[in-house]
Amino acid sequence: MDCREFCDKHVAFVDDTLAGIELVRMQRHIAECEICARHDSRVRRALLIFRNLPTIEPSADFSQRLEARLRNECQPAELFANTQRNLRRGAIAATLASAAMLGYIATTLYRSDSPRDLVMPPVVASLPEPELTPITTSTPAIVTSVSAGLTIWPAALFAEQVPTRFAHSKLELANYTR
């Protein structure tokens, strides 16, 4: 072991954290090297003095001052907690008020005379009934006057009715076949 290696491992040597074989090598080096031996004893003595420095104690009012500061520290926290609590209460109150208002509005609407629901009639598709145009112009006198079964229509009426009847009979036929 050289002096450089000794210095590198001196911290662990002083703290007694070296492995067994390393410890032996360090001790052997001290026995051989006067400079390193002096360094080692100087460091150990200095540390001994430092470690034996008297400890200082906190002053008598240390705890009281700390308590006072902690109390001050608590106050803003409490204030904050109170503010939070008040805000929470306010929010709850606002929610309740809103719910009450909505309930009131709903009740008012329910009780009003206006129809609740707008009921629309069902949409039903239906065929128009065939328009059987009543023979308005024919008089019973005319019909009854014909006994042979062949109606004798007035010419004007016949001319007016025939297209309609034909068309209607065609329409009916078409419907049946569909």
Binding site: C7, D8, H10, V11, A12, V14, H39, R42, V43, R45, A46, L47, I49, F50, R51, L53, P54, T55, I56, E57, P58, S59, F62, S63, R65, L66, R69, L70, E73
Partner: protein, 212 residues
């Protein structure tokens, strides 16, 4: 009568809780505090106030300021304890806070030399110094020698570079492991060992003429 009995019961109960807290490790005390037991914080203060005061005092060299900083440490602990990662050591966390505050204090002083002068001046007033170092049964010359030696040691520590001093105090005074020091000072293990080696060597060299 009923009041007296109730008070006695509360006192007994209080003492029991305190004793129970004393028997707990740091982690359990922290858990108790977070669970609503306010007395647990007093227990933490009792455990750490002297250690932290010595650590900060040795780092910054001003007793009065050291007390203020230790109070600040506890305030911060109180404020942020709910955020403390309980898988880690409480002591490491507390020392990290104290170390950072001490570092800030030294940085502020270096920016403001007037403050440095005043604090140093105050630091060297004899009436401000703790007197328990002296044994009243010692001879006067022995007392003088001890006081003189203490002053020299404190001056010597103050002469170390800040990052060396921090590691040196954490190791030699607080007995922290290398790993803990690495965590507190936020540097790697190799740096810690290297700084410690240099700090020890420097300290030994400076103080050698006075003790040899």
């Amino acid at each position: 009568m009923a009041d007296i009995v109730r008070k006695q019961m509360v006192a007994v109960e209080g003492a029991t809780v305190r004793e129970r807290l004393q028997a707990m490790d740091d982690s359990a005390v922290v858990t108790a505090f977070l669970g609503g037991e306010e007395r647990a914080f007093s227990e933490l203060v009792t455990r750490y106030q002297t250690r932290l005061l010595n650590f900060v005092y040795r780092t910054i060299g001003d007793r009065e300021k050291a007390e203020d900083l230790v109070q600040e440490v506890f305030i911060r602990v109180y404020r942020h304890l709910h955020r403390f990662d309980r898988s880690k050591k409480f002591s490491t966390w507390v020392y990290t806070i104290a170390s950072n505050l001490a570092k800030n204090e030294l940085r502020n002083r270096s920016r403001n030399p007037l403050v440095l002068f005043q604090t140093v001046q105050k630091n060297f007033q004899d009436e401000d110094r703790p007197l328990q170092f002296e044994d009243p049964n010692s001879r006067p010359d022995d007392m003088y020698r001890k006081r003189h030696l203490r002053e020299i040691v404190e001056e010597t520590v103050a002469k170390l570079p800040e990052h060396h001093r921090n590691v040196f105090i954490l190791r030699e005074l607080e007995g922290k492991s290398y790993e803990e020091i690495a965590e507190i000072t936020d540097c790697n293990l190799g740096t810690v060992k290297s700084r410690l080696n240099r700090a020890r060597t420097s300290f030994a060299e400076i103080i050698a003429p006075y003790v040899d």
